[in-house]
């Protein structure tokens, strides 16, 4: 009997977590984010960025370009490995390749948007900025350590990087409106959250329904949990409908659109609009608050429809397919992961986490990194896990250390990297990622505890500058050596 109550309590905790993650604000972020990821894959020609990653590009361009490629081109792992191998073997070399590899999981728009909405914009910004700085840093360090091997590696032409491509103007506008839609859906400013009109729908019983939902999936507001509201239940229903229609409409969208495609798109728009409303169930009816967010989302959707007409139909079909592919690839694992996280949360005692990583200590940050390296979670699942740790009392510093290390390193990715750059380089890279993730956690934790952001930024800039100078100096010496040697031979 006791075991039965225990299991049912675990299941309810899992369900509660699932409900909270499918709630309005998460949908307003994730749904557009998937469409944006699809648009970036389908509408941005890879050549717009890869042409800056050739062998003859100056280093001060190829490092930032590598980071840009990481965030824009590498939304999925089918791009990361070949691009990494290409930059390393035939392009700008080990340094930029490593920068690309490090920044790709962290600068990924899906991960950033999700982190920002679930945990907080400050942590998302820290994750972006610190992984950019440290991605370039690790790239520079690796280029320094292995500078001999790097100078010697094959001198083929960089024809692979010669291609030029440009985005069509409507495609660019389309992508920008999609991003605006994501921002309008998630930003918490008065202009968007204020209600400008109010409606009362005379539907009785919704409040009791919501009460029932709260009982079904209990939540603890003090731990930052949210229950499933009546609005949330409606949205979950809509989401299921989108899934069904998309299955029929998106799976073969490359061959042509059909009625199901249109239905899936209409339902998606509707979901975003419903999620943007403020819904308060009361005894005599439901109060609908028409927020600024609602107008912004409606405007964005209209603009998208207008612009989409100017884009080549096949490009639109590609966009829909890529978006659907991301959903298929990521969403089921995310849902399962969120449920499991909810179950785990009921099992882990807050005292354990607080003792280990409750403060911004070196030990706490290392614990965060170690957990990240040895655990492997599907894409995006690291975010609900991090949120669970936060709720259990983990300090935000070690939390960032974990969030940076987890998607970067898993046994599987280390093995793939090793086949391309060799075992020694791969393990040196892993070591540096561990060190820098812990460092990132410490720095961000110090900022949370009140240290000056300017001072910390200054330290980072100084270290990066020193590394760049050292690399420049060694490179000059190398070229001089080479020149001298060839002079002797001749």
């Amino acid at each position: 009997m006791d075991i039965l109550t225990f299991v049912s309590q675990l299941l309810r905790s899992g369900l509660g977590n699932l409900g909270a993650y499918l709630a309005a604000h998460v949908l307003l972020c994730l749904v557009p984010a998937f469409y944006i990821a699809g648009a970036m894959t389908a509408l941005i020609p890879k050549e717009t960025v890869t042409r800056f990653l050739g062998r003859n590009t100056p280093k001060f361009i190829s490092y930032p370009a590598a980071a840009l490629a990481g965030s824009v081109l590498a939304v999925c792992s089918c791009t990361i490995v070949p691009l990494f191998a290409g930059i390393y073997k035939k392009g700008a070399g080990l340094g930029p390749a490593i920068t690309f590899l490090f920044f790709a999981p962290a600068g990924n728009l899906l991960a950033l948007a999700y982190t920002g909405v679930v945990i907080g914009p400050d942590l998302a910004a820290a994750r972006l900025f610190l992984s950019l700085a440290f991605g370039v840093g690790i790239g520079l360090i690796m280029a320094l350590i292995f500078r001999r091997a790097d100078a010697a590696h094959d001198q083929t032409t960089d024809a692979m990087f010669a291609g030029r491509g440009a985005m069509s103007r409507p495609a660019l506008a389309f992508l920008l409106v999609l991003i605006a839609l994501l921002i309008a859906g998630t930003l918490k400013v008065d202009l968007l959250t204020n209600a400008y009109a109010q409606l009362t729908l005379p539907i009785a019983g919704v409040d009791r329904f919501q009460e029932f939902l709260f009982n079904l999936a209990p939540f603890d507001a003090s731990q930052g949990e949210e229950g499933i509201t009546a609005q949330g239940a409606l949205l979950i229903g809509l989401l299921a409908l989108i899934g069904l229609t998309a299955w029929r409409g998106m799976e073969n969208v490359l061959e042509g659109t059909n009625r199901w495609t249109l239905a899936a798109l209409t339902l998606t728009g509707l979901t975003l609009l419903v999620a943007a409303l403020g819904v308060t169930p009361q005894a005599d009816g439901v109060i609908l608050a028409v927020t600024g967010r609602f107008f912004a989302v409606a405007l964005g959707l209209l603009a998208l429809v207008a612009i989409a007409r100017q884009i080549e139909p096949y490009a639109c079909q590609e966009w829909l397919w890529e978006s659907w592919r991301f959903v298929k690839q990521i969403f089921p694992l995310l849902v399962a992961g969120v449920f499991v996280v909810g179950v785990l949360r009921a099992l882990i005692r807050p005292e354990w986490i607080e003792a280990l990583a409750g403060t911004n200590s070196i030990l706490g940050n290392l614990a965060g990194v170690l957990f990240g390296v040895f655990m492997y979670f599907p894409t995006l699942v690291e975010v609900p896990i991090a949120n669970m740790f936060l709720g259990l009392g983990m300090h935000r510093g070690p939390l960032l250390a974990y969030l940076m290390a987890d998607p970067e390193l898993s046994l599987q990715s280390i093995l793939i990297i090793a086949t391309i750059i060799g075992r020694v380089k791969a393990w040196v890279y892993v070591g540096w990622v561990a060190v820098f993730s812990a460092l990132a956690g410490l720095l961000y934790g110090a900022w949370v505890d009140g240290a000056s952001a300017w001072l910390l930024g200054g330290y980072i800039a100084a270290v990066l500058g020193a590394l760049a100078l050292a690399l420049y100096w060694f490179n000059r010496r190398n070229t001089r050596d080479l020149a001298a040697r060839s002079a002797i031979i001749h």
């Binding site: 890869t50 089918c78 791009t79 070949p82 191998a85 692979m160 397919w321 086949t419 391309i420």
Partner: protein
């Protein structure tokens, strides 16, 4: 007979490329051999920066995107003429 290779680690898009290629081949009434290359060591031998990639007679015709059936048909007829 043409030798066609689809490069990719087995992600959904690679399967799409293979399916569209098969349709293009059937549309032309060709005889062709399709080889799926999933090993990264082999994939990186080709001058490509992203998968899925399509290789006809050892020549990369497209990479990093999903070609349409019409495009593939053109590449196939080109390959037939030069062969």
């Amino acid at each position: 007979m043409l030798t066609i290779k689809v490069l990719g680690s087995g992600c959904p898009s690679c399967k799409k490329v293979e399916a569209v290629t098969r349709r293009a081949i059937a549309g032309l009434g060709l005889e062709a051999e399709i080889i799926k290359v999933t090993d990264y060591a082999q994939i990186t031998q080709y001058p490509i920066l992203s998968t899925p990639a399509l290789v006809i007679e050892e020549k990369v015709v497209c990479s990093g995107r999903l070609p349409s059936q019409a495009e593939i048909t053109t590449w196939l007829t080109d390959a037939l003429q030069t062969a």
